[in-house]
C-alpha cells in the first residue's frame, strides 16, 4: 500500500491526519457549502449585507417552497423524461454492439469499434448544425423525443466502448460450450452473455444518467421553453426570473443538482466502475 498506512506512523501524525481530513474536506467543498448556506437564508440577510454571518432566521421551507412553486418541477420532470429513455436506449443498443464486437472475429471489427470510440470524443460543435437541421426536418425540434434520439445515438459510442471491453473479458469458454450444445447465437446472447453483463449494465446506467442529466449544450441547441427543456437549461430561465435573489437561485441550483447526487451515493460502486471505463481494475 502506498502511501504508508497511517496506523504505522507516529501518534502525532495519526492525530494530525485525523484533524486534517475534515479541514481539507471543508475547504474543498467551501463553494458548495456557501451555496447551501445561501439557500436557507432569508431575503433580508442579503439586503443588510449579512452574507457570511449566522443567518438571522432559517427559511429553508420558504425558499425551497418557492422553488417548487415555480416552473422548476416542470423542468425536473422533463429531465427525467429525457434521461430515463436515453439510459434504456443507449444501454440496450450497446449491449448488442458490445456483444457483436466483443464475441465475434470478423473483418472490420476493430475498425467499427474505433469508429465508435472516435465518435464519442468528437467536439459537439461539429455535429451541431446538421443535427439541429435533421431534428427540425423530422419535426422533433423542441421535443423531448428529439433530444432523446440524439442522446441515445451519441452515447452509444461510449457505451459500446465500455460493453465491448467488458464482454471481451468474459470467459470465452462459456460461449464455446453453448455453441457445442448447438444453441442459436441470439440465444447465447440472451441466456449466456446478458445475465453476466448485469454489473456493466448497472455501471453504465448510473453513469449515463448523470451525463444526460447534466447535459446543457444539446438542451439549448435542440429545445427551448418549459415544455421540453431539462433542468440544466431551465435553471437559467429560473435565474433570470429571480435575478439577484440569491437565496432562491441557490435553492434552485441545489434542487437541480440533487438527482444525480442521490444516484451517485446510492450506486457509488457501480458509478466508479463506469468512470474508470473498466480499464483501471
Amino acid at each position: 500500500m502506498f502511501p504508508k498506512p497511517i496506523e504505522k506512523s507516529s501518534r502525532t501524525w495519526q492525530l494530525g491526519y485525523q484533524a486534517l481530513l475534515p479541514t481539507v474536506m471543508l475547504l474543498w467543498l467551501a463553494p458548495l457549502l456557501a451555496v447551501a448556506l445561501f439557500s436557507i437564508r432569508p431575503d433580508s440577510d442579503f439586503l443588510v449585507g449579512n452574507y457570511w454571518g449566522w443567518p438571522s432566521s432559517f427559511e429553508m421551507t420558504k425558499n425551497y417552497g418557492m422553488v417548487f412553486g415555480s416552473a422548476m418541477p416542470r423542468y425536473i420532470m422533463n429531465s427525467f423524461l429525457i434521461t430515463i429513455p436515453t439510459v434504456i436506449g443507449a444501454v440496450a443498443l450497446s449491449c448488442m454492439t458490445g456483444f457483436a464486437l466483443g464475441v465475434y472475429k470478423f473483418r472490420g471489427n476493430l475498425l467499427i469499434f474505433f469508429m465508435f470510440i472516435a465518435g464519442n470524443f468528437v467536439p459537439f460543435q461539429i455535429l451541431m448544425v446538421p443535427v439541429r437541421d435533421l431534428t427540425l426536418d423530422i419535426g422533433l425540434y423542441n421535443t423531448k423525443t428529439g433530444l432523446v434520439l440524439f442522446h441515445i445515438a451519441f452515447q452509444t459510442g461510449f457505451c459500446t466502448l465500455f460493453m465491448r471491453n467488458f464482454i471481451k473479458a468474459l470467459p470465452h469458454e462459456l460461449i464455446e460450450a453453448a455453441r457445442v450444445e448447438g444453441i442459436a447465437e441470439w440465444r447465447i446472447f440472451w441466456f449466456v452473455v446478458l445475465p453476466l453483463m448485469k454489473p456493466a449494465i448497472a455501471a453504465l446506467s448510473v453513469l449515463i444518467f448523470t451525463f444526460i442529466w447534466n447535459d446543457y449544450f444539446w438542451a439549448i441547441v435542440l429545445t427551448q421553453g418549459e415544455n421540453a427543456q431539462p433542468v440544466t437549461a431551465g435553471i437559467t430561465s429560473f435565474n433570470a426570473q429571480f435575478r439577484a435573489m440569491y437565496h432562491l437561485m441557490s435553492a434552485g441550483s441545489i434542487v437541480a443538482a440533487l438527482p444525480p447526487v442521490l444516484m451517485f451515493f446510492l450506486m457509488q460502486k457501480h458509478f466508479i466502475a463506469g468512470l474508470t471505463l473498466g480499464a483501471v481494475k
Binding site: 476493430l110 448544425v129 452509444t156
Partner: protein, 308 residues
Amino acid sequence: MNTTLVKQNWYKRNEIAITPWLFLVPGLIMFAIYVVFPIFQSFRISLFKWDGLGSLATHGEYIGMANYEKLLTRDRSFNISLWNNLKWLVFYLASIPAGLFIALFLNQTVRGIRLYKSLFFFPFVISQIVVGLVFTWFYDPQYGLFNGIIGFVGFKPLNVLGDPTLSTYGVIAAGLWPQTAYCMILYLTGLNSLDPEQTEAARLDGAKGIRMLWHVILPQLRPATFIAFVVTVIGSLRSFDLISIMTNGGPFGSSRVLSFYMFEKSLSEYGFKMGYGAAIAVILFLIMMVFIGYFLWRMYQDEKATNG
C-alpha cells in the same frame, strides 16, 4: 418447402458470420445518422455562406475556402478563442497531478474514509451549470467568498470574471474543481490495485517518499494516468457550459473558446452564420482529431499486445 429448407441451411451455415452484423445494425444506423454523417455534412456546410434558413442547396452560396481564409487571417475573435483553447488545454492538465495528490492523501484506511472519498468526488457529480453558478457567486466582487478570503489576507478585491485578463483563468479554475475530482477517483482506483509485493520489495530496498512514488508507484499507475490524460484533454477542448454560464464569453469576448465562439456565430443573437460556424467547428474537430488519433493508436497497440 424446399427453398425454406435451403434458406434455413444457408442461415445456419452462415450464422456466426451474420449474427454480429444483425446485432450491430441498430447501433450503427443511429450512430451513422446522428454522428458520422453530420461530421461530413459540417465539412460541406463550412464551404458555404448560409444563414440556416431553407436548404443548403437552394439558399446557401458556395464560397469555397473563403470562411477558412477569413478565420485564419482576419478574425481577431478567432485568434483569441484559439489562444484560450490552448490555455484551457495547458492549465486543465493541472487536474492530473492535483488529483493524484488528493488520491495519495485519501488512500488510507481510517474510519469514515469512504465517506470522505465520496465527498471529495462530489464536484464531479453535479452539473457544470451548477458548478458555474457556484463559482460565479464565489468570485462575486461584492460578497463572494473569494474576495472575502483575499481581503482577509490583505489583498484588494478582484473582479475576476469582469476582468478581460483574468476571466479565462477564473473559468478554468472552476473547471479544475470537478476535473480534479475525476482524476482523483481514477488514481484512487489505480492505487487500490497496486502490486503489494513490488511496493514492499522497494520499501525493503529503502525506497520511500517522492523517489518511491516516481520509480515504483507511478509506473504501476500508468493506465490510470492515460485515462486521466484522455478525459482531461477532451474535457478541456469541450469546455462550453462553464463559459456560457459564468462569463457568456465576455468581457469583450475575452473568455471565448472555439466551441463557444462557434455556437455564438451560428445560433445566438449575433446571427445565424452557419457556414462560418461550421468552419470553426471543423478546425476544432481537426485539433481534437490529433489527440483522438493518438488515443486510438495507443489503444491499437494495447489490442495488438493482448491478442497476438
